[in-house]
């Protein structure tokens, strides 16, 4: 597990090998990685938000204007290209923002800052339900949208329990297909700096944090650490079980239902409510679908055998 502080300590300590974050080793081994966010440490300085913007700027949309006319006319375009500096909510140009909650809990006042971005679900409905193969989960737990082929239908946003992905019109493959009749741009969200992880680097938000709020590592270790941390601060965990399990684990000294009431929620500002597993029914139905061919073969074989038997009886 690696936080920015430990990463820097490793650099000072010396050898080239010690520079390689454990996260990078896990990527090589294709291990599922999770991040732990210790909310008691976050001061809301915004360094992570800035680092995310700077590091991922080359992935941000560069829309062509004017946008194609949309049919039917009720289909609205989503244009954030003139509002690229917005950093108090999720946009196609801002994949991470900080929500702040001022709360009183057990007689004590708290200011809790919560870095919000995609939680990278273990069984992500955005990736499972994308009909175009544009959204996918990687072995290292990253859920990302392939901007080369995304058509911007926004289904990923509709099925995400937190409605994380954000659309930018006027960019992407739909412009080359039927721009007025199908698609509406490209969806954008945190990709947990997949390209940096591939190079053995930490995600930008983790590296930039001066308080060591975030840690990344193999999910099992992160979960164990989260429970240990929650025990030490008599705190609460969010993200471990939500939507069947995510790879973003928040630990807070204040219950999340209290935080949820104190934060601004709405478009681009996700909630902190409990979330049941969206894909639970599909996981069960999936087994039924996969065993259906065997059941069919067995039924067919029974039918053939009974036919043969009947034939034999007639011959006798």
């Amino acid at each position: 597990m690696l936080s920015r502080r430990k990463f820097l300590q490793g650099m000072v300590a010396g050898s080239a090998l010690s520079l390689l974050p454990k996260g990078a080793k896990a990527v090589r081994d294709e291990e599922e990685l999770a991040t732990l966010l210790d909310l008691s440490k976050c001061i809301g300085c915004g360094a992570c938000v800035e680092a995310c913007k700077e590091t991922n700027a080359h992935k941000f949309p560069k829309p062509q204007k004017p946008f194609p006319r949309m049919y039917p006319s009720r289909v609205k375009v989503a244009d954030w290209s003139d509002k690229q500096d917005v950093d108090d909510r999720l946009t196609p140009y801002n994949w991470l923002f900080i929500q702040t909650a001022y709360v009183t809990w057990q007689g004590k006042e708290y200011e809790i800052n919560i870095p919000r971005r995609c939680l990278h679900c273990q069984n992500p409905p955005c990736a499972n339900l994308c009909p175009w193969g544009a959204c996918l989960k990687q072995k290292n737990g990253i859920v990302r949208i392939n901007s080369e082929i995304c058509l911007g239908g926004s289904k990923c946003k509709s099925v995400c329990p937190w409605h994380i992905p954000e659309r930018q019109t006027g960019v992407g493959l739909y412009l080359k297909l039927l721009p007025s009749y199908a698609g509406n741009g490209v969806m954008y969200k945190c990709d947990r700096c997949y390209d940096r992880l591939e190079k053995g680097l930490l995600p930008a938000c983790i590296e930039a944090c001066p308080e060591g709020v975030q840690t990344i590592g193999p999910r099992k270790e992160i979960i164990a650490k989260a429970h240990q941390l929650a025990k030490e601060m008599s705190g609460y965990i969010y993200g471990e079980k939500e939507n069947g399990g995510t790879n973003t684990i928040y630990v807070s000294p204040v219950p999340f239902e209290v935080l949820n009431k104190a934060i601004d929620t709405g478009p681009g500002r996700p909630h902190l409510k409990p979330v049941p597993n969206s894909m639970a029914l599909e996981e069960n139905l999936g087994w039924a679908v996969l065993t259906a061919p065997l059941a069919g073969l067995a039924a067919g074989a029974l039918k053939v055998v009974s036919k043969l038997k009947k034939g034999e009886e007639k011959n006798e």
Binding site: W132, E282, L285, A292, G296, L297, K303
Partner: protein, 145 residues
């Protein structure tokens, strides 16, 4: 194939095609979901689950037919259109099962596989539909008489 069986397969194919189309964000965009009683057509989760259920029925039926068809030596009677249908159905079933597999949390495919599986699963039903119509128009059967 009996008339009842033809109807069954026709309705099942239509329902699969419909719930498959409902995976794309088009029914709301193109007003179908606005028709009273049709709001469910824009419910992605519901249609996804229905698609799974229907796929279960289809797979059971298809594999049942594979055994009974093979055993009755009808394979040699398949026309070119018949073989085409077999391959198209095979492709749809194969890519569909890969998609179901992919939707388990333990299973991960690389991004190109995810893309091609989805595109093939989307494209083959179109081809099947086109050949079905062509077969009907040209009066070609899938079995030699």
């Amino acid at each position: 194939m009996s008339k009842k069986e033809k109807w069954f397969l026709g309705l099942l194919s239509f329902a699969l095609l419909f719930t498959g189309f409902a995976q794309m964000p088009i029914f709301k965009r193109y007003y179908l979901a606005d028709i009273p009683g049709f709001a469910w057509t824009a419910d992605y989760y519901l249609n996804h689950r229905l698609h799974y259920l229907l796929a279960f029925i289809l797979l059971f039926y298809l594999f049942y037919k594979v055994v009974t068809f093979f055993s009755s030596f009808q394979l040699k009677n398949l026309t070119f259109l018949g073989w085409l249908k077999v391959f198209l159905w095979g492709g749809i079933v194969f890519t569909g099962m890969l998609r179901v597999l992919k939707n388990f949390p333990q299973v991960v495919f690389d991004y190109k596989t995810v893309m091609y599986v989805d595109w093939i699963h989307l494209g083959l039903p179109f081809l099947l539909f086109i050949f079905f119509i062509l077969g009907k128009v040209a009066g070609i059967s899938y079995l030699r008489k």
